[in-house]
């Protein structure tokens, strides 16, 4: 009797309840959740600035030039009497549009190159990696400066497409290198061999079987590079190669008259600087948290 096999009823086998991924992320990565809230606020401000901003960001008011922070102007005004809070809020649109577009473009091209490099190997891998090496040899800002100076400005729907391309190009080799590493481990999986044996086309194997398995590193790189792209856009605008006045843009707010009047009106540089730092910090932290959450190697 004691040795009788225990019969387990199929009905008594209860699968553990799958945790809500959002709640799970919040529990495991509280700092990531906080940074996501910051990003969400920025995105809301960027999408609906007219609902949030107290003033028109471009409207000049010579009667309140260089006004210190007050109830009327929470973050003060600049040399043209423009409200700094409103310009920061509208500037988040510029930062996010260029940040997202550049990072998406750079990360996607980088991911395609990385997977192709890993999948085809041999001469293709060699050529792609040497190309990546060449691009990596240039510091990000130098490469972006060269591209933006060569391409000039082309505005489509209010976005300088060439600026987006200039910022995306330095992202490409960095993503390609990381995605290639991930794709190399996927490339030796039996299901890839099976797909090859089944006679599937290279494109089908790459996009249907390999790409979904490198989504985690791709997402992590994508979010991390949004921060880099925002910083790069701010740097290029500061150097006079990004967006031009009077567009509200964080980097631009730090240059021009801000440089002339930073002693008399330090709020002209402090608050845009804080906005850039906060955005970069939030995207970096969110990217790290996403990596820790998605990558099983980081789970304890």
């Amino acid at each position: 009797m004691a040795n009788a096999p225990q019969v387990i009823s199929a009905n008594s086998f209860v699968l553990p309840k799958r945790p809500n991924p959002v709640l799970s992320f919040v529990r495991q990565q509280p700092m990531g959740a906080v940074s996501f809230i910051v990003i969400a606020i920025m995105m809301f401000a960027g999408l609906f600035p007219q609902l949030v901003a107290p003033y028109d960001p471009l409207s000049i008011n010579f009667s309140s030039i260089l006004a210190a922070p007050s109830w009327d102007h929470w973050l003060g005004t600049d040399a043209f009497g423009r409200d700094i809070l409103s310009r920061i809020i509208y500037g988040s649109r510029t930062a996010l549009v260029i940040g997202f577009a550049s990072s998406l473009m750079g990360s996607t091209i980088g991911a395609v190159l990385g997977i192709a490099s890993a999948y085809f190997g041999g001469r293709v891998d060699n050529w792609i990696q040497r190309f990546v090496d060449i691009l990596l040899a240039f510091p990000i800002i130098v490469l972006a400066l060269v591209v933006v100076a060569a391409l000039r400005k082309t505005v489509v729907y209010g976005v300088d497409v060439n600026l987006v391309i200039a910022i995306a190009i330095p992202i490409v080799p960095r993503v390609a290198r990381v995605v290639r590493a991930a794709a190399l481990s996927v490339n030796v999986m039996p299901y890839i061999d099976a797909a090859r044996a089944a006679g599937y086309s290279d494109m089908r194997i790459i996009f249907r079987h390999m790409a979904p398995n490198v989504v985690a590193p791709f997402l992590i790189m994508f979010t991390a590079f949004i921060a880099q792209a925002i910083l790069l856009e701010a740097s290029l605008s500061f150097l006079g190669l990004g967006v031009t006045e009077p567009t509200a843009a964080w980097g631009l707010m730090l240059s021009g008259n801000a440089a002339d009047f930073f002693r008399e009106a330090p709020w002209m540089i402090i608050f845009p600087g804080v906005a850039i730092s906060l955005a970069v910090f939030a995207f970096n932290l969110f990217g790290d948290s996403l990596r820790d959450y998605l990558d099983p190697r980081f789970k304890t």
């Binding site: 471009l58 409207s59 000049i60 010579f62 030039i65 040399a79 043209f80 009497g81 400005k153 505005v155 006079g240 031009t244 006045e245 009077p246 567009t247 021009g256 008259n257 440089a259 002339d260 009047f261 002693r263």
Partner: protein, 527 residues
């Protein structure tokens, strides 16, 4: 006796006190001078240029026939001309030239070089740009009876002629160089000026060294100099504060002046003057919808110049409201008359209501366009920001495009723009000079708005020949009214000049124009 004694003692004390100062004012020879040039010229030839960037680059290498005596501005003195006479009918100008002058390549300078230079200015060969063509249209012939005499014969008397001869843009070139290539001066340098060309490193600097064969004995004082291109104002100010450059001769903003005074104290010299320079709003009258006078006029009427002047003068070099002649100068339109012209009303609400009406009539209520501007921080960027704001207030959407001087000038010349911020870069208050810009495009390459207007040409001619001051003023005001009624182009604001230099820089003279006195011949360093 006591008074006499006191007087003698006082005189002795004064002379003792003055003695070291007089000694300190004695120019010292030698030394290397670094100064800042806040824009880089796209080419070297002042004949085909309107930007000071070309003059600050090229002036030390060249001489002109006459020039302004900046100690007694606007008095004129000889440069290559030792003396000159004007016939009683004002139709013949005879110049006696300095003897023994040589170009930097060793070629002797003669009256043939003056003739070749002025032929190029008044009647340029195919492919040569001369922005001074209209100002020398009255020259009927140039004769060279001997190597040191040149005779200009005019077809009509011209009261502005001596001012034209003193223009800093009329740099004298070698006839031999021009014969070999009429565009030689655009890319190469060979003048008779106080310094010889050493190098131009694009994006970095232009360098010159003392011309030991310079015809003015004892000059120049400096051994060598370097004009460093500092396109960013902040970089220039930091260089000035750090002593990497000792001066910038174009001008800085009031904020920059205050910052530098606070930082450098009594090591810094600050010189200020009104400025013979204005920014203009310019329409490409060949491009729709700017070929419609209602659209152009609406855009000019929306600009609150009086309010803008008060605000912009605190943060930029823009200051005075004025018409086509520098405000405050003898032939300028008085304010009471100016406010009656389109674009100068003090009732900005009514003007903007009228502007909206005009746009509606023209079917351009949702007008969008690109405003071309130079990427010079001062005062182009503040002017651009101001204009975008003003035009938004009548519902017009503007994209502000700022570019380097080279592409900007290329776009203006080729007509590849819609609306632009242009500049009128004068070197004196002579109305003929300032009005030349507004002559018909077919006569005048300076007219970037690309219109032909016979009435403006006629009024220009009338004021040019008129010797009675009041009548001349009436012609100028009629021209101004026609120009603004047609809204081809219009001054935005006039500038105020503030020049900063280290106190060790001596011999340079301040003037109302940053185009004058840049040959550096008399500059020396008190170190």
């Amino acid at each position: 006796m006591k008074r006499l004694l006191l007087g003698l003692v006082g005189a002795a004390v004064l002379s003792l006190a003055a003695a070291p100062q007089a000694e300190a004012q004695q120019p010292k020879r030698g030394g290397h001078f670094n100064f800042a040039i806040s824009a880089e010229t796209p080419q070297y030839d002042p004949h085909g240029s309107d930007t000071y960037a070309t003059l600050h680059f090229s002036s030390p290498f060249y001489s002109t026939l006459l020039r302004y005596n900046l100690s007694k501005f606007p008095e004129i003195e000889g440069d290559l001309a030792k003396s000159w006479t004007v016939s009683p009918d004002k139709l013949t100008y005879t110049f006696t030239l300095h003897d023994g002058v040589k170009f930097h390549d060793g070629t002797p300078f003669t009256s043939e070089d003056i003739k070749a230079t002025y032929d190029r200015l008044r009647n340029p060969a195919q492919g040569v740009v001369s922005n001074r063509r209209a100002t020398f249209a009255d020259i009927a012939s140039i004769e060279t009876p001997n190597p040191t005499t040149v005779v200009f014969k005019l077809s009509k008397a011209n009261s502005s002629m001596l001012d034209h001869f003193a223009s800093p843009w009329n740099t004298v070139y070698s006839a031999k160089d021009l014969a070999s290539d009429p565009n030689f001066p655009r890319t190469k340098v060979n003048g008779t000026g106080p310094f010889t060309f050493v190098e131009h490193v694009k994006g970095s600097h232009v360098a010159g060294k003392r011309n030991d064969s310079y015809f003015k004995k004892g000059l120049p004082y400096l051994d060598s100099y370097r004009g460093i291109f500092t396109l960013q104002a902040a970089a220039m100010l930091n260089a000035l504060q750090g002593g990497q450059v000792l001066a910038e001769f174009r001008g800085v903003s009031p904020a920059d002046r205050d910052r530098m005074v606070a930082a450098m104290g009594d090591k810094l010299r600050v010189e200020e003057s009104s400025w013979t320079l204005n920014l203009l709003v310019l329409f490409n009258t060949e491009k729709p919808p700017f070929n419609d006078v209602r659209v152009r006029k609406a855009l000019l009427m929306a600009i609150d110049r009086w309010g803008g002047s008060q605000g912009l003068s605190k943060i930029s070099t823009l200051r005075a409201v004025g018409g086509v002649v520098r405000p405050g100068s003898p032939l300028a339109t008085p304010e009471a008359e100016l406010v009656k012209l389109p674009g100068f009303s003090k009732d900005i609400k009514a003007a903007r209501a009228e502007a909206r009406k005009l746009l509606k009539e023209a079917g351009q209520e949702k007008l969008k366009f690109v405003l071309w501007n130079r990427n010079l921080a001062m005062p182009y960027t503040p002017a651009g920001i101001f204009l975008v704001d003003q035009w938004r207030q009548i519902g017009v959407e503007v994209e502000h495009k700022q570019s380097d001087t080279g592409p900007y000038i290329a776009a203006m010349r080729s007509g590849n723009y819609e609306v632009a911020i242009d500049f009128s870069n004068l070197f004196n208050d002579d109305p003929t000079l300032s009005l030349t810009k507004y002559l018909s495009a077919s006569k005048n390459p300076l007219n970037l708005a690309r219109y032909d207007d016979a009435e403006i040409d006629k009024l220009y001619e009338l004021q040019l020949r008129e010797t009675d001051l009041q009548k001349r003023r009436a012609h100028i005001m009629a021209l101004e009214k026609r120009l603004f009624d047609q809204a081809y182009q219009q001054p935005l604001l006039w500038w105020h000049r503030i020049v900063l230099s280290h106190k060790t820089v001596m011999g340079w003279k301040m003037s109302p124009s940053h185009n004058l006195g840049q040959d550096l011949a008399e500059v020396w360093l008190n170190q």
